[in-house]
């Protein structure tokens, strides 16, 4: 079995299985945990939990007033690579074909040139995020191995994908196999590391909104 056959076959299959198992396990165990009752008295005029949750999420989409340029840059940079990743993942025809194989649905893809530009911008943005993490004293203090590893596991598929598309560095079948293997690694790591925020971000931000909303604080 060639490396490409291994990547397209058993590797991606096992990775998808681990991903599914891990995500299910983490979401169910988290949502099903017994909640500690909030014993505070709801402040008069406080919004309902639902609207506090939604507005908590929405308000977190932008930097609150008073924060400096660095925070704004970090946020915008975050949007850039998130959007970039989405464009690459959902817009590249080869990826759509992969998803069609899994879910049976497809949609029109974007021109390869657009994807290539998006990939280069995304890569630059990811590097900027890492530089900030490593240079800001506060970020350095709160960063753990989980953060750095998650950065690596996110960046590798973008880098290897770019190399595969541009046929750089090795034969195409090897580049494609390595690219698929990096995606398999991402899928396996996803439920257990920081990547799980793709699901949990909605819960954590809404929960913060609910917690403070009840106390009459908009955060």
């Amino acid at each position: 079995m060639s490396l490409l056959d291994f990547a397209r076959g058993p590797a991606i299959e096992v990775a998808l299985a681990v991903f599914t198992l891990g995500v299910m396990w983490r979401l169910i165990s988290l949502l099903g945990l017994p909640w500690a009752k909030d014993r505070t008295v709801r402040r008069a005029g406080a919004p309902s939990d639902f609207s506090a949750g939604v507005s908590g999420f929405i308000r977190h989409l932008w930097v609150p007033k008073g924060f400096g340029m660095t925070s704004r840059f970090a946020l915008i940079n975050g949007y850039v690579f998130h959007l970039g990743l989405a464009i690459i993942f959902f817009g590249f025809v080869q990826h759509i074909l992969f998803l069609r194989g899994l879910f049976g649905v497809s949609w029109p893809g974007l021109p390869t040139s657009v994807i290539s530009i998006a990939a280069v911008v995304t890569l630059g943005s990811l590097v900027a995020a890492l530089v900030r993490r490593m240079t800001s004293p506060v970020m350095r203090l709160i960063s753990t191995a989980n953060d750095y590893f998650t950065w690596l596991i996110t960046t590798l598929p973008v880098l290897t994908g770019l190399l595969a598309v541009s046929h750089l560095g090795a034969r195409y079948e090897t580049l494609l196999a390595i690219h698929i293997l990096t995606v398999a690694a991402l899928l396996i790591w996803f439920p257990f590391g920081k990547l799980m925020h793709a699901f949990l971000v909605f819960l954590t931000r809404a929960e913060t909104g609910v917690f403070y909303g009840r106390r009459g604080v908009k955060i």
Binding site: G32, L97, E173
Partner: protein, 368 residues
Amino acid sequence: MSDGNHPGGTIGEALLARGISRRSLLKYTGYLASILALPPMASRAMADALAKAPRQSVIWLSFQECTGCTESLTRSFNPTLEDMIFDLISLDYHETLMAVSGAAAEEAMQAARAANKGKYVLVVDGSVSTAEGGIYSTNAGKTNLATLKDMASDAAAVLSVGTCAAFGGIPHAKPNPTGAVPVSEIVTDKPVINIPGCPPIPEAIAGTVAYIITFGKLPDLDHLSRPKAFFGDSIHDRCYRRPFYDKGLFAKSFDDEGARNGWCLYEVGCKGPVTYNACATLKWNGGVSFPIQSGHGCLGCSEPDFWDRGGFYKPLSASVMGNPAIIGGAAVAGIVAGAASVALARKRRAEALAAQSKASAAAQEKMP
């Protein structure tokens, strides 16, 4: 076939006897030099070397195969070119092409072997059955496995022609009931050159043989022992539809607008990007066309296991699921694990609460 009039003669003599002029030979070597990517000057040197060289003794063995490889070579479109290969070689044994049969044929093989011991080139098409000692494919009462081992021991080099001989091919496809293996798995102490393809391009067979005869050595080979001159580039590297691939313009079916516009066939399963062969440059039927030009994606027939890559119409980027139920099973396992964690957490909490209320009740009792 080795014709009786010129046993052991030089190639020059053989050509002369057939009325083939030096000019034709130069034209042929010029063509060979170009397809072998040799400098133009090489054609004259090749013509001189070939004219003086003795005709190479070739013994051709056919194992688990469909004869497509022989068909490809003998019915090649441009007989004046590929046919010449038969003037370069003395084909001493080939079951499909030889006139004699039975014991006489076997005798011819042994005679050729004795006369050219250590010097003949063994060409094999078809894979070698190894299951149950190789009994699934026999000839003249002997298994292919035994014949190969026996005949390879006195050969100078072995040429595995076609994907079956080179990589196991279709007989080797899952579940491979005959235990088919490529020639290179059996012959390990002799140089083995692979010229895969289903069938292989006739020019690749002829060109490789001509190279060996002319230069007396093996051509440059890639990591799968294929001559780089023919297998150095992927189909995709040389495909005229490549600009459409680069732009992301794909035919979605064989009769949609994209297909009519000649767009890239990646979405309908083309394996050109991972297939190394010369179809896109040499083409077939005398350079008329090749599969992609005729509107069908490349099947990847010159690569190992091309039959087991998840289907000819599955795009290269799609995954090849052995058993999709594994994902469903993983989802169920995840749900069960999640539910178990929840149950455990709730049980602990209930226990903690019970302990707490017990403690506070006890404390209350103690109060005066």
